[in-house]
C-alpha cells in the first residue's frame, strides 16, 4: 500500500485561520476489496470553497460521496474512519442521518429534478423541514431561486414541470432546491460537466456569491475552474491526498512530482 507522504503548504496569506467545519480523519474506503481511498486526513475550512482536484479515478467523487454517506447506496462498500460535521460523527450516525444529510446539499453531475413543478421542487425541502405557512414558503422559494440566479427566467411559470427547463436551468434549479434545506455545506460533484459554457459560467458565478454564506466542496477536473473559484485545493491521486494549498501554491509552486506531471499533462 503505497501512500505517498502528503505535502501541505502552510497558508501564509490568511492571518486568522478559518474554523474547520468538516473533519475527516483516517478515512479508508474500499469497494469489493479494491481500495479507493487511502488514509484520508482533511480539515475542510468553513466559509471557503475547497476543490478536490485530480485525474479521473483518483477517488475525488468517492470522497465527496462519503461525506454525506451516499456510499451507503452501493453494495460492497467498506468505509472506516471518521468524518465529523461540527463535531457530529457522520459515519456512525443512526436515526439522525437524514438530519445530518440535510446540512449538506448535493449538486450532482447531471441535474435530477424531482418529478414536480418548479415551485414544488423548491418547496419540497421546505415542507420536510416542517414549514407550513404558505406565505413563508412562497417567500423562501423566491429567495432560493434568486440565490441560484434563475428567478427571472422562471418566475412566470413556477407551476410548469421542472423537466421542461433546459439542462443548464435544471442544474440551477437543483442548486436552489438544495439551498432550500438550509445546508451548511454544499457538495458539488463536477456540477458543470453536462452544461454548455454559458450555463457553466452562471453556476460558477453563483458559487462565488454563495461562498459568503456556505461552505462549498467542489469536485472538478477543470483546472480553470479550480483556479478561479477555489480558496483551498486538495490534489488527489490514486486514492490519496498528494498536496493541499491555495491556488497560487498549487498551480505556481507545485512541490510533488505527481502534481507537476498532472499540471504539465493538462496543458
Amino acid at each position: 500500500m503505497n501512500v505517498a507522504p502528503e505535502v501541505l503548504h502552510t497558508d501564509t496569506k490568511n492571518v486568522a485561520a478559518p474554523a474547520t467545519i468538516l473533519d475527516i480523519s483516517s478515512l479508508w474506503v474500499s469497494h469489493h476489496e479494491q481500495q479507493i481511498l487511502k488514509n484520508i486526513n482533511l480539515k475542510i475550512p468553513k466559509g471557503r470553497i475547497t476543490a478536490f482536484l485530480g485525474p479521473s479515478g483518483c477517488g475525488k467523487t468517492t470522497l465527496l460521496k462519503s461525506i454525506n454517506r451516499l456510499t451507503d447506496l452501493h453494495s460492497g462498500m467498506k468505509v472506516t474512519g471518521s468524518i465529523k460535521l461540527n463535531g457530529n460523527e457522520i459515519l456512525t450516525a443512526g436515526n439522525n442521518l437524514s438530519d445530518l444529510r440535510q446540512k449538506m446539499g448535493l449538486l450532482s453531475q447531471r441535474p435530477y429534478p424531482l418529478p414536480m413543478n418548479i415551485f414544488d421542487n423548491i418547496a419540497f425541502g421546505l415542507k420536510i423541514q416542517g414549514i407550513k405557512n404558505k406565505t413563508e414558503i412562497a417567500h423562501r422559494v423566491e429567495k432560493h431561486l434568486k440565490q441560484a440566479a434563475i428567478w427571472d427566467e422562471v418566475k412566470d411559470r413556477l407551476k410548469s414541470p421542472a423537466t421542461k427547463l433546459s439542462i443548464g436551468q435544471q442544474q440551477r434549479l437543483c442548486l436552489a432546491r438544495g439551498l432550500a434545506v438550509n445546508p451548511e455545506v454544499i457538495l458539488a460533484d463536477e456540477p458543470t460537466s453536462a452544461l454548455d459554457p454559458i450555463s457553466s459560467r452562471k453556476i460558477e458565478e453563483q458559487f462565488q456569491e454563495l461562498k459568503n454564506d456556505y461552505t462549498i466542496i467542489l469536485v472538478t477536473h477543470i483546472l480553470r475552474q479550480a483556479k478561479w473559484l477555489a480558496d483551498n485545493i486538495v490534489f488527489m491521486y490514486m486514492g490519496a491526498v498528494i498536496e493541499q494549498g491555495n491556488p497560487d501554491q498549487i498551480f505556481n509552486h507545485p512541490q510533488s512530482d505527481i502534481l507537476k506531471n498532472y499540471l504539465s499533462d493538462s496543458h
Binding site: 436515526n95 439522525n96 437524514s98 438530519d99 420536510i128 416542517g130
Partner: protein, 295 residues
C-alpha cells in the same frame, strides 16, 4: 426530526416489512398447504401406483393418474410443436428483417393476443377449432370424431400460450448485439448465413428458456383446453381421442371433492404435481436465462 415525519416513516416501514414477509412466505405457504392436503392419499395409495396406473375409480379407492398425466403430456406436446414454427419464424423475421415499424405494430398485436382471457380462447375453440378438427382435419386421416379431442386441445393451447412465448423470443433476439452480426458480415458471411450460424447459436439458450417457460405455462392452462378437449377419462391412443389433462381434472371435480373419501386429497395431489412441474420448468429456464445474460 419532527414527530409526524418519524411516525410516517415508522408506519410505512412496518407495513412494508409486513408486505415483503407476506410475499416471501407465499410460495412456501402455497407449497406446504397443498402438500399437507394431499398427504392423506399416500396412506391409501402408493406414489408408483398413482403415477403409473390407468385405473381411475375414486369411489372404489382407485387413483391412477396415468390418463391425466398422459393427456397433459400429449396436449402440451402438440401445443409445443405448433408453437415452435409460429414462435421462431415471426421472432426472427421481426427482429432481423422487418422494418422497425412492423415490429412495433406486431408487438401491439401480440400484446393484445396475450391479454385475451382463457375462457375466450375456449369459446373460440368451441366455435372454430372443434368443427375444424371434426369436419376438415379428422377426415383426412379417415377418423370420425366430434372434434372434442386432444388435437383441438393442443391447437387451442398453442394459441393461448404463443403470445407469451413470442414476447420472450422477441426479447431474446433483440438482446443479440449488433456487433456480433457486424463481425460475422465483415468476415464475408451473407446475412442469412449470419442468422443461421451466429444469431441462432447465440440465441439458443434463450430460445430454449422461452419455450421451457411456455411449456410450464401450457401445463397450467386450464379453462381453454378444458372446453375443447372432451374430458373423458381414458388413456388416449391418438390425437383424435378425447383427453383429460391434469388441470381439467381439478377444475371439473372440485364439487365432488367432499362426497367421496380421499377425493379431495387426490385432487390436491394433482395440484401438487402441477405446482412442482411448473416450478421445475420455471427454475430451469430462469437459470438458463441468467446464464445468457451473464455472459
Amino acid at each position: 426530526m419532527r414527530l409526524t415525519r418519524t411516525l410516517k416513516e415508522y408506519t410505512a416501514g412496518t407495513w412494508t416489512l409486513f408486505s415483503v414477509g407476506v410475499v416471501l412466505l407465499m410460495p412456501l405457504l402455497l407449497g406446504i398447504g397443498i402438500a399437507l392436503k394431499a398427504l392423506p392419499i399416500f396412506e391409501h395409495v402408493t406414489l408408483t401406483e398413482m403415477l403409473t396406473s390407468g385405473e381411475w375409480q375414486p369411489s372404489s379407492g382407485k387413483f391412477g393418474f396415468l390418463p391425466f398425466i398422459v393427456s397433459s403430456l400429449v396436449v402440451t406436446a402438440i401445443g409445443l410443436i405448433l408453437m415452435i414454427p409460429f414462435g421462431l419464424l415471426p421472432a426472427i423475421y421481426l427482429t432481423q428483417y422487418a422494418p422497425p415499424r412492423t415490429l412495433k405494430v406486431m408487438r401491439s398485436v401480440i400484446d393484445i393476443l396475450a391479454g385475451i382471457p382463457s375462457v375466450i380462447h375456449g369459446v373460440w375453440g368451441v366455435l372454430i377449432v372443434v368443427p375444424l378438427v371434426s369436419v376438415y382435419i379428422a377426415p383426412i386421416f379417415g377418423v370420425n370424431t366430434t372434434g372434442y379431442t386432444i388435437l383441438a386441445g393442443g391447437i387451442v393451447l398453442a394459441i393461448a400460450t404463443l403470445p407469451f412465448v413470442l414476447h420472450m423470443l422477441l426479447e431474446v433476439f433483440r438482446s443479440i448485439p449488433m456487433e456480433l452480426k457486424e463481425a460475422s458480415l465483415s468476415l464475408g458471411a451473407t446475412y442469412w448465413e449470419t442468422i443461421k450460424k451466429v444469431v441462432l447459436r447465440k440465441a439458443f439458450p434463450g430460445i430454449i428458456a422461452a419455450f421451457a417457460l411456455g411449456v410450464s405455462k401450457a401445463f397450467g392452462e386450464t379453462i381453454a383446453v378444458l372446453m375443447v378437449v372432451g374430458n373423458i377419462v381414458q388413456l388416449p391412443t391418438s390425437m383424435f381421442d378425447a383427453g383429460y389433462p391434469l388441470p381439467a381434472l381439478i377444475a371439473n371435480n372440485y364439487g365432488e371433492m367432499l362426497s367421496i373419501p380421499m377425493y379431495d386429497a387426490a385432487l390436491m395431489f394433482a395440484a401438487l404435481v402441477l405446482f412442482i412441474i411448473v416450478l421445475i420448468f420455471n427454475i430451469f429456464s430462469r437459470l438458463a436465462i441468467q446464464r445468457t445474460t451473464q455472459k
